[in-house]
Amino acid sequence: MRANGMTEQGIQGKPAEERLALNRELAQMLKGGVIMDVTTPEQARIAEEAGACAVMALERIPADIRAAGGVSRMSDPVLIKRIQAAVSVPVMAKCRIGHFAEAQVLQAIDIDYIDESEVLSPADDVYHIDKARFSAAFVCGARNLGEALRRIAEGAAMIRTKGEPGTGDVIQAVRHMRAMQQELRRVAALDEDELFEAAKQLAVPLDLLRAVHETGRLLVVNFAAGGIATPADASLMMQLGAEGVFVGSGIFKSGDPARRAAAIVKATANYQDAELVAALSEDLGEAMVGINADEIQLIMEERGQ
């Protein structure tokens, strides 16, 4: 047994590489879809009926976490179980950065994906969870290629931008996605003998960087998250290279959640068709009010680098 209570082979005794491949493959199945934050079984059903490809079960959505302040923790397992019972799509849940015991709890209740998330209060300001020790799948936030590859080295099977959660301001997600795409292009264009120095600068394992160099891709699926509130926001992120989107506070903090959720799903599937995105943007009611990301005190995106 190791310090975090997991065995060398992971909980179910399946080889770690096989589990990681299966977990990366589930993320592939989510591509082109919208993952929605929900806080009740009723919201989960609304999200599923609107076309969510997965839901994130939370006690409070990020906007309310930000408003409430204090320490924000993993949700009550009974809430997550009720949401699991309410829908047939995958159910994700968040644990605190570095809080491997919360992650063990989520794995124990058969969660489909664990989000080791900067939206909750970090439990460890040095170490992330050693995710490769788990059978469960993990998604982690990243602002750039270096953060993404460090999370992948730790066993993350999916990456998302960090955005600035709960603000309804898409600027950070745009920044992170642009940074990621620029660095992917740069690494792909490097000479072989330049990879050693690049790995050092990015503070990432050389073998992962070499794989990025060879494929020109991030190795795992990369979604946009943070501040996406409208069909045009979703289209923007998809055009910038996101493979799907998370919508947090943007749906259930808006005037007509079911309608807005369905419109964002269709806009994500047809992000290149501006006429359709225009039609989908009509009459959605009030969008989330939002907070300008420059005006806030608590910067969540800097948690866990």
Binding site: M29, C53, A54, D112, K266
Partner: protein, 199 residues
């Protein structure tokens, strides 16, 4: 003969993976995202893995359902994997109850959604190839991701791949359905079988 033109449903899911396999087999591919796409000419159709609830909803709401169902009913060769199998199956159940997913219902099989449980129940295996596939002595690498299970098959359904004696990939006429994901492995025999169905 010119390259076969294969339409891949691309409203959600792992459609790019199918396109890569098909292009590797010399096909031209294009994505079905809305009605105008579904009205273009094509020689075969692929329904990829993903979430069947999302795909079925968008097929209806983006007005592709009727033209695609007509094409399948008129003998268009079609391959459905995982969610795609659910869209093709005549009888879809969840925990034994009828599923709300409204698919094409053209393939005479019954399937149970999420039959192996949640993601922790996802697994890899090696399946047995049957007479309908070439090199049948070679095992078929199988990936099951929150997969459905084929629980019964009607008349005229041929088993292409089985696992522990149970069908996981079947063909009926011009339709092929698999519970697993051939697009995630290097074994292209199922895609090749689809292309053989093109007259």
């Amino acid at each position: 003969m010119s390259a076969p033109r294969v339409a891949v449903l691309a409203v959600q899911g792992a459609f790019a993976e199918h396109e890569a396999v098909l292009q590797g087999l010399g096909c031209e591919t294009f994505q079905l995202r809305q009605r105008a796409d579904a009205l273009k000419p094509f020689d075969a159709l692929v329904l990829p893995g993903g979430e069947s609830t999302v795909q079925a909803k968008l097929l209806h709401e983006l007005d592709m359902f009727d033209p695609l169902r007509r094409a399948i009913e008129e003998g268009m060769p079609v391959l459905g994997t995982c969610a795609g199998l659910i869209l093709l199956a005549q009888d879809v159940r969840e925990e034994g109850r009828p599923s709300p997913v409204r698919g094409f219902g053209t393939l005479p099989v019954a399937v149970e959604r999420n039959a192996y449980g949640r993601q922790l129940g996802s697994f890899q295996a090696e399946g047995q190839a049957h007479a309908g596939l070439p090199n049948r002595e070679d095992p078929v690498p199988l990936r099951f991701i929150r997969a459905p299970r084929i629980t019964s098959a009607g008349e005229g359904v041929e088993v292409l791949v089985s696992l522990e004696g149970q069908p996981v990939c079947v063909r009926c006429g011009d339709q092929i359905g698999c519970a697993h994901h051939p697009e995630l492995t290097a074994d292209a025999r199922i895609h090749e079988r689809l292309l053989e169905l093109i007259p």
